[in-house]
Amino acid sequence: MNSLVLLALLVAQTSTEPDRITIPFKDPNRPGTVEVRLFQGDVTVTPYSGREVVVTAKSRRRRISSTTDTQGLRRLTGGRFAVTEENNVVSVRGGSLERVEVDVQVPAATNLKIQSELGGKLNVTGIEGDIEVTNLNGAVTLTDVSGSVVTHSTNGKVFVTMKNVTPQKPMAFTSVNGNVDVTLPADTKANLKLRTTNGDIYTDFDVQIATPQIRRLDSAPRGPHSLIDFERAITGTINGGGPDFELRTVNGNLVIRRAK
């Protein structure tokens, strides 16, 4: 029951010949989890009406010109992915030094754990579940997602729009070099912990705050920054308060928008 089943070795072909594989969840009646761990590459996750996980991989590498003499040489490059399923968790792991594009289609209610070691663009659209996305170099874009989000990009912007928020779940949206821009349903209850070192904070939520340093969307001026100024988290509540939502960046702005 708990055995790891290596379902396939996905090989990323060139962009003219994508490799595709379909993996079922062990128990399709329960929301499953999809983990994608790439060394380098773009990942896009979208929902579809089926109950399985469809993974398509393409490589960006251009074909080696046929005039190059490759006789007797072993090919070292080429993306290979191991795809496994264990206990309702589908794992896609691998990657290489070349950029690959991985497209994943999942049922709309699926938990996600997406990680890129070196970088790339990580995109998720329309999924509902516990969503964890971590990137080193590259943007994280989560559009119209629901459930709970814990996300970080070290060098890249974090852009999230949420349709529904699961109550009582803490969340985090962080970056080091990049803006963090989050849209939440207007009735979201949360304790906001906001912090940026070099940047501003904008919101159109009605935040009950401790220190009045938040600028409204319609105003403009930048605040002063003293040389030795270790700012503290600015905390405030929306809609009476709830679980902690942490928005943090070092070099970038924080924007928290109310969904219309």
Partner: protein, 236 residues
């Protein structure tokens, strides 16, 4: 009384024995104490198991089982304190029970911090924040989370939770050690700020090294340098 029906069914020779059974008095429960314990169980159950039903990814069955076992195990400990109590002993027993309820919260926090999903571990960290006097176990778990949690945001949250206990030696040591090992810029910056806030002079050497290390993120280096400056300024 229903027991009469039974009595009437018995032959005469057994009937008097049946009647004599009446002489065994019933025991009176310590209702107040039992209610407190019951409520603690209800709270813990409600918090962790019931709420998960609304989430998309329910707490793994293993967690529910662990919590159930721990609640019962804690319950057995609580039970030991309720030997037939005399009135003057009661308040001492209740105080003990309240302490045990705090332990329940701790059990849940520790359990949550071990979960597969980052959201659950974040919850565990914030639960431990609500414990007034966490013991070594909770602080250890937080320090462990700081050093080893695979998710950068969870590590960040643990620093916030540890902030309250900055004056404890074990926390200062742990944070300093983390500073020498952590690689994620966000965590490094938070740790630098923490050290400066604590005025932990032992960290100056580490800060200087960070400021000069080419492999370290530039933002972190700048922050470390500012930190060193801050310490030097305060000494003047």
């Amino acid at each position: 009384m229903h027991e009469e029906d039974f009595r009437n069914e018995l032959p005469d020779d057994l009937r008097s024995l049946w009647e004599k059974l009446d002489s065994i008095p019933g025991e009176t429960a310590d209702s107040a104490a039992m209610k407190i314990r019951f409520n603690a169980m209800l709270d813990a159950y409600h918090e962790t198991v019931d709420r998960s039903r609304r989430a998309w990814w329910p707490l793994r069955p293993a967690v529910q089982f662990v919590i159930a076992v721990l609640i019962l195990a804690a319950g057995v400990t609580i039970g030991r304190y309720f030997a037939p109590s005399r009135p003057q002993q009661q308040s001492a027993d209740l105080i003990q029970l309240r302490r045990e309820v705090g332990d329940l919260r701790e059990i849940v926090a520790l359990s949550l911090m071990q979960q597969q999903s980052a959201t659950d571990r974040l919850r565990g960290v914030s639960w431990s924040n609500q414990i007034d006097e966490p013991d070594g176990k909770v602080l250890s778990a937080l320090l462990d989370t700081l050093m080893h949690d695979p998710n950068v945001n969870v590590r960040l949250a643990s620093i916030d939770a540890l902030r309250r206990f900055g004056e404890r030696q074990v926390v200062r040591r742990g944070a300093l050690q983390a500073l020498t090992r952590q690689q994620s810029p966000l965590v490094q910056i938070a740790l630098i700020d923490f050290m400066v806030e604590l005025q932990e002079k032992d960290c100056v050497g580490t800060l200087e090294k960070l400021a000069q290390d080419d492999h370290v993120d530039e933002t972190v280096r700048k922050r470390a340098a500012l930190g060193v400056q801050d310490f030097q300024q305060r000494q003047q």
